[in-house]
């Protein structure tokens, strides 16, 4: 069959039509994705941070024994981090007295600090934006804030700090990223 030179001129829809149903809506143009980078800041209040001391040369089973004591006391923990001389974590502030009682009863050296907040920096698709996590952390620390613990999930970075520091960090991040909602 000879090639029809008008085909390109009249466009591909000139090809044979087999179905003329027209029940598909033609919506208006819509905004889709959130912009890259930080787009929301949020503070969760009501946490306490805790540090449990273990012998520097203690084996991991010692850590498990301590965690078992917390579990037995029905204390829920977050942000567990291992250090060379023990471990640290976060609990709900309402659990802090029970935590102190538990650690004292089990003879663990400890420190519990109340009035902690979790600053949540939302940034969609963080993993594919090279350097973004480091940038947020750097901005927060450079504002004079002490980050005590950190965690992350697919769309946000979680940083534990004092209430005063959290308020200061929010103000600083809003200065640096005016588009952010808080």
């Amino acid at each position: 069959m000879a090639h029809d030179p008008t085909e390109h001129v009249s466009g591909p829809f000139r090809l044979e039509v087999t179905n003329t149903q027209t029940d598909i809506p033609a919506p208006d143009e819509t905004a889709f994705e959130k912009g890259r980078g930080l787009n929301q800041i949020e503070i969760r209040r009501g946490f306490a941070s805790a540090r449990v001391e273990l012998d520097a040369d203690a084996n991991p089973s010692t850590r498990l024994v301590a965690l078992k004591a917390l579990s037995k006391a029905a204390i829920s923990i977050d942000f567990l981090k291992f250090t060379h001389d023990g471990f640290s974590f976060v609990v709900a502030e309402s659990d802090s007295q029970r935590l102190i009682d538990c650690l004292t009863a089990n003879n663990y050296g400890h420190e519990v600090i109340t009035d902690r907040c979790v600053l949540m920096a939302h940034a969609v698709n963080m993993r594919d934006e090279e350097g973004m996590v480091s940038r947020i952390v750097s901005d927060v620390i450079a504002s004079g804030v002490s980050i005590e613990h950190m965690g992350e999930m697919h769309d946000r970075l979680l940083m534990l700090m004092s209430r005063e520091d959290a308020e200061h960090a929010v103000n600083r991040l809003r200065e640096l990223h005016p588009e952010v909602t808080a």
Binding site: P12, F13, L15, V17, T18, N19, T20, Q21, T22, I24, P25, A26, P27, E29, T30, A31, F32, E33, K34, R36, P60, S61, R63, L64, L67, K68, S71, A73, A74, S76, I77, D78, F79, L80, K81, F82, T83, V124, N125, R127, D128, E129, E130, G131, V133, S134, R135, V137, S138, I141, A142, G144, I147, M150, G151, E152, M153, H154, D155, R156
Partner: protein, 444 residues
């Protein structure tokens, strides 16, 4: 209906995919197809292969992002043309459309563009005329380039999933179906746990977290768009008739559960010791090290900040760059007692380092910051919904691993996941043990 690289890799696979499209059409739907490039790394038309060909032109420089985008987009164009032609050969009228022709408009960030809007007139028109549009995934156009016509852009990792989800949202589709080579979202990597069941339903957040932590089921951007526009999203197999996994909003799937076990690739864990730093300098040092990581655009995992240390993991492929950046990094701290900090790997105490210390001495007191490196790590994660906040979950995870001789080097957690840094050699066993400990074989 989006078909990934493995679904369009061979004539047989493409036939399976085409039959799915034809079946949907016969059921009275207007299927709109989005395709990825054919095959995976190393295969002739795969995205990585095309990029490699371009890179070989001049190995001394990276290709211009604009040129790289044009090159990479060829993979999807080839795939879409072949797939549309296959559909036509099967008696199904079809037309291939580039991302721009499908109305996908992006910002101007080559290689990782974000979708700004979609005007799907071309797609709608094709459907009205009875064609099945086959849209090139992973690409859109930026209209601000200053040249006649629009600039082609690519959407970055998972771009074809994102194209499909966004088109589904723009067209208010009945559903978006992501076809791949597995039956849906599994409770673990089937290479590690062959009996891992397919989840019938998971939430957008769970699947985004699973993807964030290493599984390659669905890109979080696609989930985010579907969630925002409330579009039902499915992950299905091209090669079976199993129903697959439906991705739903949290309100439709309440209840406490463990979703699955996932894992990342090879990681290197670095820990900078700040014990030798002056107390008043520690915070500044932390900020400046993270600032350097941001400047070098290093993606970090397992970030850990303590009063006397900084810890983070990076992908193994990035480690040489990070090592170059950190090793012999000089951090001067002015003040009443000027101090210069010199960063050094603990395993590389060279004579050059001593020389550098002597050279820096006139600037102030020189102190060393040592960093340790654990090169053979990986991360195994438990993903769950409304579960991890219960007392004893950390204990159960650690006990499962450590009582079986798998050391946990560090942990990281969030509302949806609990991750453990472990030796890479133990990954398979760790995934299997956690899968068993949390009874995931019974998950539905």
């Amino acid at each position: 209906m989006k078909f990934g690289g493995t679904s369009v890799r061979t004539p047989e696979a493409r036939m399976q995919a085409a039959l799915k499209v034809i079946s949907a059409r016969e059921q009275g739907y207007h299927p709109i197809v989005v395709v990825s490039a054919i095959g995976r790394r190393g295969e002739p038309y795969a995205t990585d292969t095309l990029l490699q060909v371009l890179g070989e032109v001049d190995r001394t420089v990276d290709p211009e992002p604009r040129e790289a985008d044009l090159m990479m987009a060829c993979g999807e164009i080839i795939s879409a043309v072949i797939f549309a032609t296959l559909l036509k050969s099967l008696g199904c009228p079809s037309i291939s459309l580039r991302g721009g022709q499908a109305g996908i408009r992006t910002d101007g960030v080559y290689g990782n563009a974000r979708i700004l809007g979609i005007n799907p007139t071309g797609v709608v028109e094709a459907c009205k005329r009875g064609y099945v549009p086959v849209v090139c995934g992973f690409q859109g156009v930026w209209t601000g380039g200053g040249l006649p016509g629009a600039e082609l852009t690519t959407l970055g990792r998972g771009g074809s999933d994102t194209s499909a989800s966004a088109l589904g949202a723009a067209l208010r589709a009945e559903s978006v179906e992501i076809y791949t080579d597995v039956d849906g979202v599994k409770t673990a990597d089937p290479d590690f746990v062959p009996s891992a069941p397919t989840l019938r339903r998971v939430t957008y957040d769970e699947v985004a977290e699973i993807a964030h932590l290493g599984a390659k089921v669905l890109h979080p951007r696609a989930a985010e768009i579907a969630m925002k526009f409330d579009i039902p999203l499915w992950v299905k197999s091209t090669f079976s008739d199993n129903p697959g996994t439906e991705i739903v909003p949290s309100r439709e799937l309440p209840g406490r559960r463990v979703t699955g076990v996932t894992h990342t690739g090879k990681l290197v864990y670095l820990q900078v010791d700040l014990n030798d730093a002056r107390q008043e300098h520690r915070r500044d040092l932390q900020a400046r090290i993270y600032e350097a990581l941001a400047r070098y655009q290093v993606n970090v995992f397992m970030t850990n900040l303590g009063p006397t240390s900084i810890g983070f993991a990076v992908g193994r492929e990035l480690y040489p760059e990070v090592q170059d950046m950190l090793d012999a990094l000089v951090l001067p701290m002015p003040g009443n007692e000027p101090t210069v900090y010199l960063v050094q790997s603990t395993r590389d105490e060279t004579k050059a380092f001593e020389t550098q210390k002597q050279l820096l001495a006139p600037l102030g007191e020189v102190r060393e910051l040592k960093f340790t490196v654990n090169e053979a790590c990986t991360m195994v994660s438990l993903v769950a919904y409304d579960f991890l906040q219960q007392p004893g979950v950390f204990l159960q995870v650690l006990n499962t691993l450590e009582s079986n001789g798998i050391p946990v080097l560090q942990t990281n957690d969030s509302d949806y996941s609990l991750s453990c840094l472990i030796p890479e050699s133990e990954l398979r066993r760790a995934v299997q043990l956690l899968h068993e400990a949390f009874s995931l074989s019974l998950a539905t």
